[in-house]
Subunit: 327 residues, 2 copies
Amino acid sequence: MSDDLKRRILGRVAEDLAAIESALGENLGAHLEIVSDVAGHILFSGGKRLRPLLMVLASRLCGYTGGREIFFSTVFEYLHVATLLHDDLVDGAELRRGRPAAHSVWSGPIAVLTGDFLLARSLTIASRTEDPEVIRVIASITENMSQGEIHQLTQKRNLNLTESEYLEIIRRKTAVLLQGSCRVGALIAGADASAVAALTDYGYHLGLAFQMADDLLDYTADTAVLGKSVGADLREGKLTLPVIHALAAAQPDDRTRMERMIQQTEFSTTDFEMLVGLLNRYGSIAYTRDRAAAHVQTAKERLAGFADSEEKAVMADIADYALSRKS
Amino acid sequence: MSDDLKRRILGRVAEDLAAIESALGENLGAHLEIVSDVAGHILFSGGKRLRPLLMVLASRLCGYTGGREIFFSTVFEYLHVATLLHDDLVDGAELRRGRPAAHSVWSGPIAVLTGDFLLARSLTIASRTEDPEVIRVIASITENMSQGEIHQLTQKRNLNLTESEYLEIIRRKTAVLLQGSCRVGALIAGADASAVAALTDYGYHLGLAFQMADDLLDYTADTAVLGKSVGADLREGKLTLPVIHALAAAQPDDRTRMERMIQQTEFSTTDFEMLVGLLNRYGSIAYTRDRAAAHVQTAKERLAGFADSEEKAVMADIADYALSRKS
């Protein structure tokens, strides 16, 4: 199912993805070779290009014919990759998409500064829209993402993290960017307020579903398929919805076992399997999947007002894929 | 002389500085207390507010009466402080204005993310100008600054660094921000192209003079007055104009002594005094001061086309102060 869906999406957007891929190389505009190298290391490592693709699809769904959607869409990949560079450093992550993280190939400082460059680059391209509302959206995305990351950092290993606080964190750190991609697509098309609002909502719910699915994969995927270590979130002390749910639902002795694992930065495969067993036993995997599925559903419902089109069909498929994907 | 000049400048801009100070607190808009704390730690530690002040003065010199110059000027302090947070981390600097650097009080990750927040915040405020040209200037500043820092990083302890490469580095890492402050001041005032160009040049030359003076202070100031350790540049492997000049001018045995020091990350006070002795003997301190003075002169000349005014007088004084300051 997931693979079929992926093939169907890719079959429909192959041309756009190829165009986005070229544009990402062409618009980088770095003056120093090392900046191109570091940015290229993370930019061209098999990213899904989901964010630029969403902007392109949203703009077309709203009838945009200005011909600059591919160019503008690079904003969202540069922004995404900038935050990945900083987040991998912040998290001390070793792998990204199966390759060593930039901060370990080069250095922390180089990763910080290349991230800054990419943030600035996304802004330069955004300024070409000559639309202050677009600039405001881009600025607000970065304000939110940095604060979402800080919030997450301050809540590390906090055993009392609530579901609503978790939602607030993932809204800021993930959903605002997908939301912003869709919103900007509608804005550059000059869509009316209701279409802008519908696509903003679509992106928001898709973003929440996407992050919840990501958090699930950290407990359910294969390391080889995922391109990073399974269990990494817990090792970093990041409590995500499956664990938050299980902690609240668990019997005292099971809760104690979980708490002990959360305090550690290293644990054995056996320990990890024990934890995954508990997440299943307390219905926490299923609960998280259900919450994500509800957001997928809401996202798709917000497309209802648009006439049927190729773009609409792909955007609905992408919402389904957010949850069914394996990496 | 320097103290008189400082008093004269401060006497004329005291009200603006107080207004900028308040605006920096009011417009921060952080959602998390820790972000306010970290940003506040570096924002309110006795900065000169030179960059916002330049924007305010430039806007008035061009007849701006829109009443939002103080608000817009915060862009340039937020941007400045964002880069300080990242640069102190990149350089491993321990002190900033006599206080422990944010990355050592909190952590590297917190410093990175708060810097990102401040970058985004400056952009949000810039977007309120509704002027795409202003946005382009802001974006280009950050692109340049990050690349200037990376360039400097890649040239660490490079004994063959040339004066022209040094100029390229300080142009990007320092001059573009002062240049941008002045340019945006003129732009929001709707100044004509020649006034915009004159103030852009003023800011550029002021920026170069300012950085050269900074690089001189690292060899000539008192640690207590400077608020950070004298000799820090060399300890970090940063070759600045005095050393670049001396390396080129020195006799072989003196060059060897200097090279040996540059390779080290620690050196004694005696070693450092020996180096300062060489910088004086080879005229490298004087040479750097002369180059800075030439830029101060050019900066002041670019004010000539403007009618005499309080703003013009202060901007000329600021140019002089860039070189005569003691910290």
